[in-house]
């Protein structure tokens, strides 16, 4: 159960309008800026002792959140790390989203890094500030700092209980030097971190008051609907807008560009006084595109067939323990199999949208749902060829993202158009744009080889074959090199399996022009599918129960505990009725271990999913309920990835364009879900993505346990299973 929140209606909790409205934020050096303020209002102004913390003389506490919220709750969990060490109650704190300025450091919500990367720096920021406030108080009382303590935004004297509020101390504190190694609290001293907490921001999310990117309204703005080439990257040949300009509300059409990270493509924008007119205008455009051979190169089947060809040859080695091939050749009991995953789209329910205003003086203001204000600020400065000081970012809440809104193509489109018009322009993509234009999770082929001896899995080779994000998008992968990102994630160092005879991990880069990008859990969902289904197959070959077979090759205590907990919570050792079966999988991603067990029952020609239980060990965490929520969400997204269609190209055009032909899981298809968290004091791991990778293999393994049918290629139509 969750603790009751004493206040349930705190509309001012998040100031979505950002830093600008505060208008009081003063520069890095608080002392210098204080001098610039007129003496009569100085007392009321908040002082910035640290870029993330503002304390007003009236004891108002403001914390800057440097990690945008896409639903994972960073808007509260990140500031909580500061509040804990600063000794302030979250109830009395105002939270403001950072605006991309470099003083806030890295600000991208991604790679499940918000808690694990900021765990020390932000706690230190809070603790250092608290120590300065204590020092200021001890100075006023002329006692030693050790004779004081901080609690609930006040510093108290231990001897007589007298106190100063932080507001009364802030000016004096701001003149002190910042302690470099402040003392951090121990886990047992935490009042906020690790305790279940309600998310204050949810009040606005159940009343329709939360402001998402799509809800941005800037005075004088016009709307843009953008026609992209049906074949991504098609060259614009001609535009006929004669029917478009007849539509009431349409202002004009403008040739536009979509700037992806490594290339720029043509598009045509229809500008109108309202979105509906713009989108009608878009439909009335007659545009000719040059295919440029894209009808044969944008082809998922052609790409996958090249992956299969590559699977016949050796890849580039990431790691090898003993000579795998020679051991494999002489082994008596072995398997040699391939597993496929498809391209996938992110499809957040809020489509890509951005509002930009490039002004006459060349400066730009941006309001958008985005994952990385810091990156966006720099990238937009480069794109518009202006200095970073001329870029102002307002981060809007994201209506889901899953990696998609870290890609800035839609933001640059708004900037491009506003740069032409010099008025605010709001770009809204349709679902069609979202699904057809990519970028996608890469499809991957896993070629697996392994052998068993004495009832134990002793040899294992995972050969990953496909396109690389580092290579395609960032042009950072030489042809003779293995993708280090994928290598790290598939390494024995990460999955902890010990194969005593031989272990090999290798890679072949098969290129494609189908645009790819990170998608929730990045490579881990692709790697997990091959790895965990194959372990299951080897376990059966060894005549072992799949959970026991894993325990036999795992020494790592954390992995073992997660599996043992999964067994306990699912009554794993109790037989299921005839016609039902369980499948399990365990993966580690972003420093977090998650095991998943899916129970299925035969139904018609297929199976029905009964329940999913996941056990997560993410080390120390901020909010148990958020960890659960993220893991529940990962289960749903993982099932969708396993049983709903992947992206398919037909003659260069993405065959899907909306939720009717690119469906995602619905509530009536959702099995019962349970999530359990392992309690420990290990370093924090990522939570937003780690729950996803084990879901699909647990499902594939459950299908096998239930029906005897082994599915090796995703997606699986679970209503109609054939071997």
């Amino acid at each position: 159960m969750l603790a009751e929140s004493p206040k349930t209606n705190r509309r001012d909790f998040i100031k979505t309008s950002g830093l600008a409205t505060l208008g009081l934020l003063i520069g890095l050096d608080a002392k210098a800026n204080l001098l610039n303020l007129s003496s009569d209002n100085a007392a009321a102004l908040p002082v910035e002792i640290n870029p993330f913390i503002l304390i007003g003389a009236d004891n108002t506490i403001t914390i800057i959140n440097p990690r945008p919220c896409m639903g994972q709750g960073t808007i509260q969990s990140v500031p909580a790390m500061i509040a804990e060490e600063l000794e302030v109650d979250m109830e009395n704190v105002t939270i403001i989203q950072s605006d991309g300025k470099s003083k806030y450091g890295a600000q991208t919500s991604g790679n499940s890094s918000s808690i694990r990367r900021l765990w020390l720096p932000l706690r230190k920021a809070g603790a250092a500030t608290k120590e300065m406030l204590i020092e200021a108080a001890s100075g006023k009382w002329s006692i030693a700092p050790t004779q004081c303590y901080a609690e609930n935004a006040k510093v108290f004297r231990k001897d007589n209980g007298q106190s100063f509020t932080y507001g009364e101390l802030v000016e004096a504190a701001s003149k002190l030097s910042v302690p470099q190694e402040p003392v951090l609290k121990q886990k047992n001293e935490f009042k906020i971190l690790g305790k279940p907490a309600k998310r204050f921001d949810l009040d606005d999310r159940v009343t329709g008051k939360a402001v998402y990117g799509l809800d941005i309204d800037v005075p004088g703005m016009v709307y843009a609907a953008i026609l992209h080439s049906p074949m991504i990257f098609g060259k614009l040949v001609s535009i006929d807008d004669s029917e478009v300009i007849k539509i009431p509300g349409v202002i004009k059409t403008i040739p536009c560009e979509r700037t992806m990270i490594y290339t720029t493509t043509d598009s045509v924008a229809v500008i109108a006084s309202n979105w509906w007119a713009a989108s009608k205008g878009r439909s009335a455009l007659k545009v000719a595109w040059d295919k440029n051979g894209l009808d044969t190169t944008l082809d998922n089947k052609e790409y996958m067939s090249r992956c299969y060809t590559a699977a016949k040859k050796d890849g580039i080695r990431f790691e090898e323990f003993n000579d795998f091939q020679s051991k494999f050749e002489t082994s008596q009991s072995k398997l040699d199999l391939t597993y496929e995953t498809p391209f996938l789209s992110h499809v957040p329910i809020e489509p890509e949208t951005a509002t930009a205003h490039v002004k006459e003086d060349g400066s730009v203001e941006i309001w958008a749902p985005l994952q990385g204000p810091g990156e966006t600020l720099e990238e937009i400065a480069r794109y518009l060829n202006i200095s970073t000081e001329k870029v102002k970012i307002h981060v809007a809440l994201m209506g889901g993202s899953f990696g998609r809104k870290a890609y800035m193509d839609f933001i640059k489109e708004a900037c491009f158009l506003s740069n032409k018009l010099k008025i605010p322009v709001k770009v809204i993509w349709t679902r069609d744009d979202d699904i057809r234009q990519g970028p996608y999770r890469p499809a991957l082929l896993s070629h697996m080889q392994g052998f068993v001896e004495d009832g134990k899995i002793k040899g294992f080779h995972h050969h990953m074959i496909g396109e690389s994000i580092l290579g395609q998008v960032f042009k950072g992968l030489a042809d003779d090199k293995a993708d280090p990102w994928i290598g790290e994630e598939s390494s024995p160092n990460n999955n902890k399996y010990i194969f005593t005879e031989a272990h090999k991990v290798s890679w072949t880069n098969v290129k494609t022009v189908i645009p790819i990008m990170w998608w929730r859990s990045v490579n881990a969902s692709n790697i997990g599918w091959g790895q965990e289904c194959f372990i299951d197959e080897l376990a059966h070959l060894a005549g072992k129960d799949p959970l026991q077979a894993r325990l036999d090759i795992l020494e790592d205590e954390r992995f073992r505990k997660v599996l043992a907990t999964l067994a306990e919570k699912t009554n794993y050792h109790q037989k299921l009725p005839q016609g039902s079966g369980r499948g399990i999988a365990i993966t580690r991603a972003f420093g977090t271990i998650v095991a998943c067990c899916i129970t299925a029952t035969k139904s018609g020609n297929g199976v029905k999913l009964d329940s999913v239980v996941s056990v997560i060990d993410c080390g120390i965490y901020v909010n148990a309920d958020t960890v659960k929520a993220q893991t529940e969400g990962n289960i749903i997204m993982g099932i969708t990835a396993a049983i709903k269609p992947g992206i398919v190209f037909n003659k260069g055009v993405c065959a899907q364009n909306n939720y009717n032909n690119y469906p995602i899981l619905r509530i009536n298809e959702t099995p019962k879900i349970e999530v359990y968290i392992i309690e420990n004091a290990e370093a924090p791991g990522g939570v937003g993505e780690a729950g996803l990778p084990p879901v699909a293999p647990a499902l594939g393994n459950a299908i096998f346990a239930t029906t005897g049918i082994r599915k090796r290629n995703l997606p699986i139509d679970i209503t109609n299973l054939t071997a």
């Binding site: 639903g71 159940v206 799509l214 009608k280 329910i349 489509p351 889901g400 939720y659």
Partner: protein
């Protein structure tokens, strides 16, 4: 341009718009009620769900010209104006939203369901809520929150007896 009168959350609005503008854009861009969301435009996601005379409808499918002035339109802004609706309260108790973008639509569908079926069973929830997608994956909590809201309503009813 044609003029229309719409009754939204019990207030009358005079709107000048083309006859084919879908209600979702009328609400958002003409009336300024942005709690109703857009996700697909083809009645596939439910993000735009509102009530028309108490029945849940996808506002992306309703052209302004087809909505009579007498029709009662209710949006997310209109269901818990003074105090939160039980459904909203239950949503908070169970901490349902993640990004929350789909939740206006989810809540509108749930409110309509409970009005028709104060004691829903799993099957009723499946039927009433299957049209509302959630990419964040909050379905398990939505189901529990509907049961919670039903219980809250029942408690009020018994108390008032």
């Amino acid at each position: 341009m044609p003029k229309y009168i719409l009754t939204i959350n019990k207030k009358q609005h005079r709107i000048e718009a083309d006859s084919d503008v879908p209600l979702v854009w009328v609400l958002r861009d003409y009336v300024g009620l942005k709690g109703t969301k857009f996700g697909c435009g083809i009645a596939s996601c439910g993000a735009c769900t509102i009530h028309l005379n108490g029945n849940p409808v996808r506002s992306c499918q309703l052209k302004i010209s087809t909505v009579p002035a007498t029709a009662q339109i209710t949006t997310i802004e209109g269901i818990g104006e003074q105090v939160l609706h039980n459904v909203q309260q239950a949503w908070l108790e169970l901490q349902v939203p993640q990004c929350g973008y789909c939740q206006s639509g989810q809540i509108m569908s749930a409110v309509a369901l409970l009005r028709k079926k104060p004691n829903p069973i799993d099957k009723d929830i499946d039927t009433a809520m299957a049209g509302n997608l959630c990419r964040c994956g909050t379905y398990e909590r939505i189901r529990q929150a509907i049961y919670r809201a039903a219980k809250m309503e029942a408690e009020v009813v018994t108390r008032d007896k």
